[in-house]
């Protein structure tokens, strides 16, 4: 039986068991792949191998987790045995066959540092995508009053949006830090202040229901649940922007702390939401939205911890790394 920690939400929105479905590779989106290609071009050993590859074919470079680990602890530079552990493998994507091996002994730590940084950024981008998937599942639409906590999150989002277009790096950083403060504060207040006390006061037995002051209890629960949906959307939104802001600031460890702070409150939030769902008409829009909420409101920080254990996979064509002569 898989336990809750082992469940992950796939990029397609399916909830799946980590052990059966999670690949242990990091694959980059186009923007980060391009950045990585620029890094790889600076490595003579990779350039040499790329020159020997066939033109027009698509290859993958696999950097095993060992590479990042040994760069980090410094053992890589002591390795002169050439035991093959400290190398990247090049595979032909079509045939799956090994097309080359790049000895990484000469590679500089700052280049590998950039590789590791890009891997973290890709992981955070995947986390953001998963939050978007959760948000898309909350289809229940409602209008109504805006409270100050929702407004604080909104304002943090505006700061973030201004920060990403700021051309002055100091201004960008200042706005980004401001965004993080507002987003954290708004999100934490929403998590702590969302009112679930009504759920504990509901009658459970037949007599209690008959004499309850609410004529229609499901209707009453629905009116209360609507605010939970609204608050949750804002919490998810805040989390999404927080991940992007921390990623921009290159502070994944701060993100970890920010998530840790609310972990136990979020657990309560999800448990209570799971309880509200039992008072709503199954298969209704609100029921489905709240079920999605009860399955996860915050990104899993486990993903970040697993970055150093993953193989980094970069797809490329030989001309991208070693341009043909005369170009």
């Amino acid at each position: 039986m898989p336990n809750k920690d082992n469940l992950i939400i796939q990029p397609n929105g399916e909830v799946a068991s980590r052990t059966t479905l999670l690949t242990d590779a990091i694959v980059f989106d186009e923007e980060k792949r391009q950045k990585l290609i620029q890094i790889l071009r600076k490595v003579p050993a990779i350039l040499d191998v790329a020159k020997k590859l066939s033109e027009g074919k698509v290859y993958q470079a696999h950097f095993p987790p060992e590479v990042l680990k040994r760069i980090k602890d410094g053992s890589a530079r002591l390795d002169n045995k050439g035991d093959g552990l400290f190398s990247a493998h090049i595979r032909d994507v079509k045939t799956g066959r090994m097309a080359g091996r790049v000895d990484l002994k000469e590679i500089t730590p700052d280049l590998m540092g950039s590789l590791s940084e890009l891997a973290t950024q890709q992981t955070l981008a995947d986390v953001v995508r998963r939050l978007e998937v959760i948000d898309e599942k909350i289809t229940y639409v409602l209008q109504g009053q805006f409270n100050d906590r929702l407004a604080e999150v909104e304002s943090g989002i505006h700061d973030y949006e201004q920060a990403v277009v700021a051309s002055n790096p100091d201004v960008r950083r200042e706005l980004m830090v401001g965004a993080v403060q507002k987003l954290n504060s708004g999100r934490n207040k929403l998590i702590k202040s969302t009112d679930f006390s009504f759920i504990d006061k509901l009658p459970r037995g037949k007599l209690g229901m008959l004499f309850s002051r609410h004529l229609d209890i499901p209707e009453y629960v629905q009116s209360k649940a609507e605010f939970v949906v609204k608050a949750t959307r804002s919490i998810i939104e805040a989390s999404r922007y927080l991940v992007m802001a921390y990623s921009d600031l290159n502070e994944p460890d701060s993100l970890r702390v920010s998530l840790k702070q609310v972990e136990s409150d979020v657990e309560v939030f999800q448990d209570k939401t799971r309880e509200i769902v039992r008072w709503l008409l199954p298969e209704s829009n609100l029921h489905e939205s709240l079920t999605a909420i009860s399955q996860g409101v915050l990104p899993s920080i486990q993903d970040l911890d697993e970055v150093p254990q993953k193989t980094i996979v970069v797809e490329f064509q030989s001309k991208e790394i070693a341009p043909p002569e005369g170009v």
Binding site: L202, R204, K206, M209, L210, S212, L215, D216, I217, P218, E219, V277, R278, W279, L280, L281, P282, E283
Partner: protein, 65 residues
């Protein structure tokens, strides 16, 4: 845990778990009581309306006399 005995509008069984000692999930149990209570109110409303109609009629007839 036991699942709810009720059926959904599309005929599928309700997937919600019941509380200890109950046959129906909180939604379906509470929904039954909401119907009962609304029914009682409707009957009470009809009775009150009926009584008021009779009173009004008798007042009308005593006025016309």
């Amino acid at each position: 845990m036991k699942l709810c005995k009720a059926e959904l509008p599309d005929g599928k069984p309700c997937p919600t778990k019941v509380d200890k000692g109950q046959e129906y999930c909180p939604y379906h149990l509470a929904n039954q009581y909401a119907k009962v209570k609304k029914g009682v109110l409707a009957v009470a409303g009809t009775v009150v309306t009926g009584v008021l109609t009779i009173v009004a009629q008798s007042l009308n007839s005593s006025e016309s006399e």
